[in-house]
Symmetry: C2
Subunit: 433 residues, 2 copies
């Protein structure tokens, strides 16, 4: 079989979300949720779709980075890529000149994410399986071959990774059935954006509980007094049994985080997310020691597996929030799931944005079936926003993600949505300008 | 005064260095040394030049990122920018949408470096001073106002920074005189590129000592047996009193670094540079504990001040190697110099590349005059390469950088060099294609 990847197209797609203050938080006051959208095509006409999520300005820089990766993809044999996605991934993040732009972080790494995700989407479509199932049916040896252990061995060896996967193998079939029947637990961030009024917060919090969610999340970090008031209102609205996570989006320094959280403790926040710089491993560890029993969560801005490794080694986090397109795609996320399992830390993926819910559900479900083997204390973020633009949007029922059955990774946008929101020339943007 | 910044131009300039294997190392086998070159102009006709250094492919992505910063610069009042460069720097790295691309790391942060460096160049030209002197004549309070302490306070408070600067203030005039007379110690990497033959290594090592250098550096990490042979040859060539640093350019995992270094110890390497991932703070700390008395050095790929803070907090490094355009320019480097002084760790800047020698000399000299107050165990890297393209190239005599007297930061390229090496349309590249 000599079929090749014949094209890689990239589009700058932006949704003007800043007009409604959906997605507003302490550090990102006016995001325009955006996607650097990638389509790869094979000579036989098959397609794979992937994306990197950004929040507006700079999405064109992200698109330029994807274009810089094109020569590493176009012309490659499809059979070869699918036979050894780990080797392909190492060429994608290891190019001798492009790696200077990271290495393995920021714009160039998110570009690798979009391409890697598109390749997994293609793999799922060719196999006729959703990616969670494609991964969950790979052998432990195949899965371990995806991981670049160069900088991980002091925390996770190939042998340890194999042991984890082999230990989970006997229960795969049973957990797959349970997943298909019950879905995977979700939590919702919809009530808690900073830009919302108290009345809207309370109304949406009650609706979330009525809809079956057992956890909600509130944005904090802009105004200490308002945070106390909003958290008190939310706790009153949902009662003592619903978990309320709070999210500071990196607003604080270490001591500031600790001081800010103290008056919130009586309202029993379940976790504090991104209390400080996503780069501050030692800072997260110090905050965690000081604010227990509030759990510390981070990950949506965690740049790569080396940083996740250290967050785990340092005992800095209670909850690991992987992201579909911050690290370099499905392949690197398999390594991160194995690291989390090695340290016994639950993974609760970051989602929302554009297409993140669609993609991360595959990672969490694969984790349940074939890695950690449990959904205990694990939830996937859910935001009810922009799903209508996807050809296979997520389905959330009674607070659970239904397991997707459509082949691929779920990141395919409707052609009309792309055309309408293309930046700067799509009609939505021409009308705004 | 209402004079404004009226333009920000960016050029993709590349030198075809891969043809000679100058700059070859374990992770970057064939670099084409490149610059994302920035010129800002004022309404009055003054100019500032800055650059971000890359190694070839992807320099166009870097240029796109600089262009994304243009709206934050053009139209700003020159007087306002120069009165509070710290405030400008925070807008440059804190844009509510662009920061998603980092935050504060990779392509978008190096773009901020190029712009920040151009602004300091402009400031120096308007003041008629080289930037080292401009900085060294600012008050402790002005210097502290440059620093963004949000994520630093657990390691360095504004009061501690003020104490460091006030402590060094009485000796500024005397050290300035000594600097102008004697220059600042340099070391050379010219002998040690991986692509060079043994004969060339020995010859260049001897020439370096004859030229007055007291330290040289060898690249290692591709072949353990070759490293042992080359280090033995170099030690024999220079004798026991010359320091030989070695540089692995991130080639190893933690245990691998320790194993690889053991057989090299008899040849007394002074420091091991970049033994592992630049992101692996805990890994550097573990290596340092294991390989003493070999010192551990890193920094050229250290993404920002939060990472440097942790390298210092964790006791992970003996030598801090700041870079002119990896972190966000002169402004962030002032913070890094203060952090290093707070922890008593010597700063030995990374240089070479394109214009890095020209820029970092200002930082090291400012450090000597106004921060650490010493050159003990401090050296600036020197590579004799590409300086002819700059209007005010560095001068190195008898193993010392002469203090530059030309106003500005030194990153201005000759217009003919830009025209010849513009990618992909300059004549040098048209001939190669």
């Amino acid at each position: 079989m000599t079929e090749q990847i014949v094209s890689l197209d990239v589009s700058d797609v932006r949704f003007p979300t800043s007009r409604e203050l959906d997605g507003s938080d302490a550090m990102n006051p006016e995001p325009d949720y955006s996607a650097t959208y990638v389509t790869i095509r094979t000579g036989g006409g098959a397609e794979g779709h992937g994306l990197a999520f950004t929040i507006g300005r700079g999405n064109e820089v992200q698109a330029a980075a994807v274009a810089a990766l094109r020569p590493l993809v176009v012309g490659r044999s499809v059979a070869e890529l699918l036979a050894d996605p780990g080797a392909f991934h190492r060429t994608l993040v290891g190019d001798g000149q492009l790696r200077w732009l990271g290495p393995a972080k920021g714009v160039i790494h998110m570009a690798a994410a979009a391409v890697d995700n598109a390749l997994w989407d293609l793999a799922g479509r060719l196999a006729g399986k959703p990616v969670w199932r494609l991964l969950a049916e790979m052998s432990p040896e195949q899965l371990v071959s995806l991981v670049d252990f160069r900088y991980l061995r002091d925390a996770l060896t190939p042998e340890e990774a194999l042991d984890i996967l082999r230990g989970a193998a006997p229960g795969r079939a049973e957990r797959t059935e349970r997943l298909l029947e019950h879905g995977y637990p979700a939590y919702t961030t919809t009530p808690g954006w900073l830009g919302y009024t108290d009345e809207k917060l309370v109304r949406l919090a009650k609706e979330a509980v009525a809809d079956g969610f057992r956890q909600i999340k509130l944005k904090v970090g802009a105004d200490a007094e308002a945070d106390r008031r909003r958290l008190a209102l939310a706790r009153e609205a949902v009662g003592p049994d619903i978990r309320i996570a709070i999210d500071a989006n990196q607003a604080w320094g270490v001591a500031e985080a600790i001081d800010w959280l103290r008056p919130l403790t009586p309202f029993d926040p379940y976790w504090i997310e991104e209390p400080t710089s996503p780069d501050d491993i030692l800072g997260h560890a110090a905050i965690r020691r000081a604010v227990a029993p509030i759990r510390v969560a981070t990950g949506e801005h965690c740049q790569n597996q080396v940083m996740f490794k250290q967050l785990l080694q340092a005992g800095a986090i209670d909850v690991l929030q992987l992201d579909a397109s911050r690290v370099a795609g499905v392949t690197e996320n398999v390594a991160i799931l194995l690291l989390a399992a090695r340290f016994g830390v639950p993974v609760c993926p970051h989602a929302g944005g554009v297409g993140l819910c669609e993609m991360v559900q595959h990672l969490a479900m694969f984790d349940y079936v074939a890695v950690s083997g449990t959904t205990e204390n694990r939830v996937i973020e859910y935001v009810d926003h922009l799903h209508e633009h996807f050809t296979a949007p997520v389905t959330v029922r009674n607070g659970h993600y239904r397991a997707p059955l459509t082949p691929g990774l779920g990141a395919e946008l409707h052609p009309e949505s792309i055309a309408a929101h293309r930046y700067p020339d799509g009609p939505v943007w021409r009308e705004l300008s």
